[in-house]
């Protein structure tokens, strides 16, 4: 094939080598780009009514969703969470909680009121939120940078897209809920 091209014979091996190297780099580069892209995984299981939900999305997609619909989606989610947990955390309360955690790393801070036993603590570069009651346990862990992005500014609205971007540096479990017949697991990992 190279005979049809006007390439000096002595340069052909080098050209072939360069082409092979370029092809190899392109293939491995593309594969690395795809495997390195973090994904958000969600698994919900409820054995009582045989329900299983699994969601897997590239973090870029989650960022896009949170950018466009994050406020409403989280408001809905918090509304449902509030209904089930009988707590009512407003943006300002969340922000105040974040400041309290930031002010005293390592100390446990109680969240909610009355019967709730929700506790949060800054543990190195991570924040851990846990609660245990007769219905089960809830464990949340996320990088401190996520909270900084979410609550950092004094703007009226929380920066969901910024928080999701920070999740790209995280790997492993974000939320684990284990209670009776139901389990919820949210984590960041490869596809």
């Amino acid at each position: 094939m190279l005979n049809h091209l006007r390439i000096p014979p002595h340069a052909r091996p080098r050209l072939l080598g360069a082409a092979l190297l370029a092809a190899l780099l392109a293939v491995t580069g593309s594969a690395a780009a795809q495997t390195d892209t973090p994904w958000l995984h969600v698994q919900v299981e409820d054995e009582s009514d045989r329900t299983k939900v699994e969601v897997n999305l590239p973090l870029a997609a989650v960022e896009a969703i949170s950018d466009r619909m994050g406020r409403e989606a989280l408001a809905d989610a918090m509304g449902h969470a509030d209904d089930s947990r009988e707590t009512n955390l407003e943006t300002e309360e969340l922000r105040a909680l974040w400041k309290a955690l930031r002010a005293d790393p390592g100390a446990w801070v109680s969240v909610g009121d009355g019967d709730e036993n929700l506790r949060a603590r800054m543990d190195g570069d991570e924040v851990r939120i846990t609660t245990t009651d007769e219905d089960g346990s809830l464990n949340i862990r996320f990088p401190t940078a996520v909270g900084d992005a979410l609550f950092g500014s004094d703007a009226e609205e929380l920066d969901f897209a910024g928080a999701v971007r920070r999740l790209a540096d995280h790997e492993g479990d974000l939320v684990v809920v284990d209670g009776g017949d139901g389990r919820v697991r949210v984590w960041i990992g490869p596809q």
Binding site: A33, Q34, T37, D49, R50, T51, K52, V53, E54, V55, N56, L57, P58, A60, A61, A64, I65, D67, R68, M69, E72, Q191
Partner: protein, 189 residues
């Protein structure tokens, strides 16, 4: 006379070739409806017909579509566009899987397409949709955020551009709906 006939044949051939080229370029949707208690219908629809119709439809019809999308589907469409764009470069994957008793829903990326499979055991119903991600992404591009009269920005969609993108990039799309008594298939070639 012979010369006139020759010209006529050449014109007919050219028209046939042009028609064939248009068919090949625009694609054909084959719609098939099979029901137990009715005669089967199979109708090939050249996509150049809806494409031409979209160009000819009066503008006010699309204005009505605007209002509907602004209120309900606008923000979701904007998010959908960005999500689809992020999916274009990833490998095949299961995106959503829901199992509720014996009912199943699956949304996945397969090759360059978004695939949805729904199965409801109780009614023996099945739905299968295969849509090229490119078609959906182009459709979503017809929507944009604009400053609204209210405090929050609004989303406006160009209904004509949206529909045109769906039809123009629909090649490879499949829809299959079936239950105990009937089956509907749409394939775009």
């Amino acid at each position: 006379m012979l010369r006139f006939l020759g010209l006529l044949v050449v014109a007919a051939l050219a028209a046939a070739l042009l028609f064939g080229a248009c068919l090949a370029a625009c694609g054909v949707a084959v719609v098939s409806v099979v029901a137990d208690d009715a005669p089967a219908i199979v109708a090939p629809v050249p996509l150049m017909i809806p494409l031409a119709a979209l160009e000819l439809l009066p503008e006010h019809l699309f204005h009505e579509a605007h209002a509907e999308l602004d209120r309900e589907a606008g923000p979701a469409l904007l998010a959908l566009g960005a999500v689809l764009a992020s999916l274009e470069d990833v490998d095949e994957a299961v995106l959503v899987r829901i199992e509720d008793g014996d009912d199943r829903v699956l949304v996945a990326k397969e090759q360059e397409d978004l695939v949805v499979r729904v199965r409801e055991e109780g009614s023996d119903a099945r739905v299968f949709v295969r849509a090229p991600i490119r078609a959906l992404a182009r459709a979503a591009e017809a929507c944009e955020e604009v400053a609204g009269e209210r405090r929050e920005p609004e989303v406006r969609c160009d209904g004509r551009a949206l529909a045109t993108a769906v039809v123009r990039f629909a090649r490879g799309a499949e829809v299959e709906v079936r239950d105990r008594d009937a089956r509907v298939d749409i394939s775009v070639w």
